[in-house]
């Protein structure tokens, strides 16, 4: 499949994520949207990696150039998992304190 299919898909996912972050007030939904953006980037990374690897393979059948990006994606997923636990913990604490996950109540920095 041509690379721009993946790019368009990533773009869609990323835009959905941004719009979600900007428009929604529920912290969990915002969090999910952030994950969506993260995964859009991951998808793009894998796609480009594959494209580069295919190009290098066509020239030299022993070359593995570009494959390391696929490893990075695993790293990102691990880090993202850690980040999710932290983020969810924050949201749980938030709920315990204000009995809501609506971010519009989180404007205490203003005062």
């Amino acid at each position: 499949m041509p690379i721009h299919y993946y790019i368009f898909l990533s773009l869609c996912l990323f835009s959905i994520g941004i719009v979600g972050v900007l428009t929604r007030r529920n912290a969990i939904v915002i969090f999910m949207c952030i994950e969506l953006m993260l995964n859009a980037v991951n998808l793009l990374l894998v796609a480009f990696s594959r494209m580069h690897q295919a190009a290098a393979y066509a020239i030299d059948h022993t070359s593995m150039a570009g494959a390391e990006a696929q490893l990075f994606v695993f790293f990102i997923m691990v880090v993202a998992a850690a980040e999710v636990t932290v983020g969810l913990a924050i949201i749980v604490m938030l709920y315990r304190n204000i009995h809501s996950v609506d971010i519009n109540f989180l404007n205490r920095l203003k005062h």
């Binding site: 941004i18 972050v21 900007l22 007030r25 971010i103 519009n104 989180l106 404007n107 205490r108 920095l109 203003k110 005062h111």
Partner: protein, 636 residues
């Protein structure tokens, strides 16, 4: 380096120690102790000065510089703090410490009414003054001289304003300080110029290099130095501070504003004689300013009624004569007159102090009269002082004044005529004051008359000593007309003035001619004394309103008023303009404006911090998009 000169630094150090003890211990030292410390350090300094004088007069003595420490030492600039002992500084040492000791002793009685703390403060200031004056004459470079120069200005300011509860006295002190600053600026510029021109500032270094410099440079430097001398020695146009300085206690007027500090300008020019001899224009200016000051101050003194004001204007006039002597190249005569003037003017001031003391702080001579019976010692010594300043032989003033006038005659007849007129007026106003004070009938209140008394011994002793000096002081400079080679002072000072084209006294006029002129002048002086006697020595005299020219003189030619109009008022207006417009509007406006702008913009930017997470995210996203757009389209 030999003998006492090694410990010569003790001479200024002792008064400094006296200053510290009296100044710091003013709240717990008794008056007696303060008097002993204050006068004692001066007497010790005087004894040391006598030893040094003895060494300096020994045959084969050459000028010695005693290095103490480095004042400023950097690459290309080396200013040591050192003392120079030679004939000139040794002579000034004797005058300063000698007359200083007498005046300190006199002050112990004169200032006795003061409370203990003020009494100690007075002696502390007086010691401080002597310390700086000694630094001034002992320094071996212009910078060291300048340190003393500023120091005596400070002490003078402190002592003029000694009775600081009277605001007029404070104003007089400020006037003296400010006018001296004007002169000091000239001195300072001269120092900078010499440093940039010659690279050295010690006397020996400057004089050595001066011969190779161009005449215009030397003229500029000497003119600037003379501006300094004008301020310190009260010459036209900076003389008006000295009469006002009489606000200080009378012994202060005697020591600072008659005998020592005001002669600093003469010392400076005599010290720089090498430079002045290279700059004839400056010399002429010195002579012209000197003779015009002498004349102007003498005319003012004719109509003054305050006993101290008469003496003050007389001092200005005599200083003018000294500058005339320096200007015509007769440096010895100038220094000679400094010495004799120190004797008789200190005597006159102290005598006036004794009169004021007896009269309970009355200073108007029209309210005195007939004091000779009640104050016999004061009267007698005062008479000697008047005869000395009038120039009657064989008193001290005759010899020095005669030498100045003869030198002036050799240079230019106009100087001579003006000098003689000044001398005649001097004799007249001095004897006017003398007759009004000591002769005629008493014109004060009954209460004052009842309490009239001769001053205590501590005050009469200095008077007697100074009277003796006023008689014999001139005999060190007997002119060749009377006795060949009897001018001991000239021989003594000759090494100091050797390098300049120094005019030795009496060279071009024949002896018979000189004797005739001398006799004529003395006869004229005697006539003016008799004129003063017939006018002012009678009973039932009262102050009359003067009009026309007399009123002009009484008001001191309105010089103070002229200065007020053309200098003080415009400066005041300029200051208030600067204060109102430049400071309040422009500078404050700028500073406040910056604050206002910040406050305003902060109020606007504060709205961004809404606390809404959504709005922060929106700003972030919009900013990122903007960055991308810039990156894509302008490729910054």
């Amino acid at each position: 380096m030999s003998g006492m000169i090694k410990v010569g630094y003790l001479i200024p150090l002792l008064p400094l120690i006296g200053f510290l003890i009296n100044g710091l211990g003013r709240n717990f030292l008794s008056k007696r102790l303060v008097g002993i410390i204050g006068s004692g350090v001066l007497v010790l300094s005087f004894v040391l000065s006598l030893f040094i004088f003895n060494e300096v007069t020994a045959s084969g003595f050459t000028s010695q510089v005693v290095y103490l420490f480095d004042f400023i030492k950097t690459a290309g600039l080396d200013i040591p703090f050192a003392f120079q002992f030679d004939q000139l500084s040794a002579l000034f040492l004797l005058v300063i410490t000698g007359i200083g000791s007498l005046i300190h002793i006199y002050s112990t009685a004169y200032m006795h009414e003061e409370s203990e703390a003020h009494y100690a403060r007075y002696f502390a200031y007086l010691n401080l003054f002597v310390f700086f004056m000694l630094i001034l004459v002992l320094g071996s470079s212009y910078v060291t001289m300048f340190i003393g120069w500023e120091g005596v200005g400070l002490s003078s300011y402190l002592l003029i304003g000694f009775w600081f509860t009277n605001n007029n006295y404070n104003n007089a002190a400020k006037k003296a300080f400010v006018m001296n600053r004007i002169g000091d600026l000239g001195f300072l510029l001269a120092i900078f110029w010499m440093l940039s021109q010659f690279g050295v500032i010690t006397y020996t270094g400057v004089f050595e290099k001066a011969t190779t410099a161009s005449v215009s440079v030397i003229t500029g430097i000497t003119l600037l130095l003379f501006v300094g001398a004008m301020g310190k020695s009260a010459q036209i146009p900076l003389y008006t501070w000295l009469p006002d300085a009489m606000a200080g206690p009378t012994p202060v007027s005697a020591l600072i504003h008659a005998a020592t500090m005001v002669t600093a300008g003469i010392y400076m020019i005599a010290r720089s004689n090498v430079l002045y001899s290279l700059a004839p224009i400056s010399q002429n200016l010195v002579a012209i300013i000197g003779v015009s000051t002498a004349l102007l101050a003498a005319t003012i003194a004719l109509k003054q009624n305050d006993i101290k004001k008469v003496l003050a204007y007389s001092t200005v006039s005599q200083l003018g004569l000294m500058f005339l002597a320096l200007g015509v190249g007769a440096y010895t005569a100038g220094v000679f007159h400094v010495m004799t003037h120190a004797f008789f003017k200190a005597l006159l001031f102290l005598g006036a102090g004794s009169v004021i003391h007896a009269m309970h702080h009355e200073q108007d001579i029209y309210k005195m009269g007939g004091l000779r019976k009640k104050l016999p010692i004061t009267h007698f010594t005062f008479l000697i002082g008047c005869l000395a300043i009038a120039g009657i032989p064989p008193f001290a003033g005759f010899f020095s004044k005669d030498e100045i006038l003869t030198a002036a005659l050799e240079k230019n007849i106009i100087y001579y005529v003006l000098g003689v007129i000044t001398s005649l007026m001097t004799a007249f106003y001095m004897f006017r004051m003398y007759f009004l004070t000591f002769h005629g009938n008493f014109r004060g209140t009954d209460d004052q008359q009842h309490h009239l008394h001769e001053s205590p011994a501590a005050m009469t002793f200095p008077l007697v000593v100074l009277a003796l000096l006023s008689i014999v002081g001139g005999w060190v400079g007997i002119p060749a007309v009377f006795m060949e080679n009897a001018h001991r002072l000239s021989n003594y000072l000759s090494p100091v003035f050797a390098a300049s084209h120094h005019k030795t006294a009496h060279q071009s006029i024949s002896h018979s001619m000189e004797l005739a002129i001398m006799a004529g002048v003395v006869a004229l002086i005697a006539i003016s004394i008799f004129a003063a006697k017939t006018m002012f020595a009678k009973e039932g005299l009262s102050e009359e309103k003067s009009s026309g020219f007399g009123k002009l003189l009484e008001n001191k030619w309105y010089v103070d008023e002229i200065y007020d109009t053309i200098i003080v008022q415009p400066i005041n207006h300029l200051s208030s303009f600067s204060s109102r417009i430049i400071d309040n509007k422009i500078i404050d406006g700028t500073v406040n404006g910056v604050g206002k702008i910040l406050q305003f913009s902060a109020r606007q930017f504060r709205l961004l911090q809404s606390g809404q997470v959504g709005s922060y995210v929106l700003i972030m996203v919009v900013s990122i998009i903007l960055f991308f757009i810039f990156q894509l389209f302008w490729n910054i």
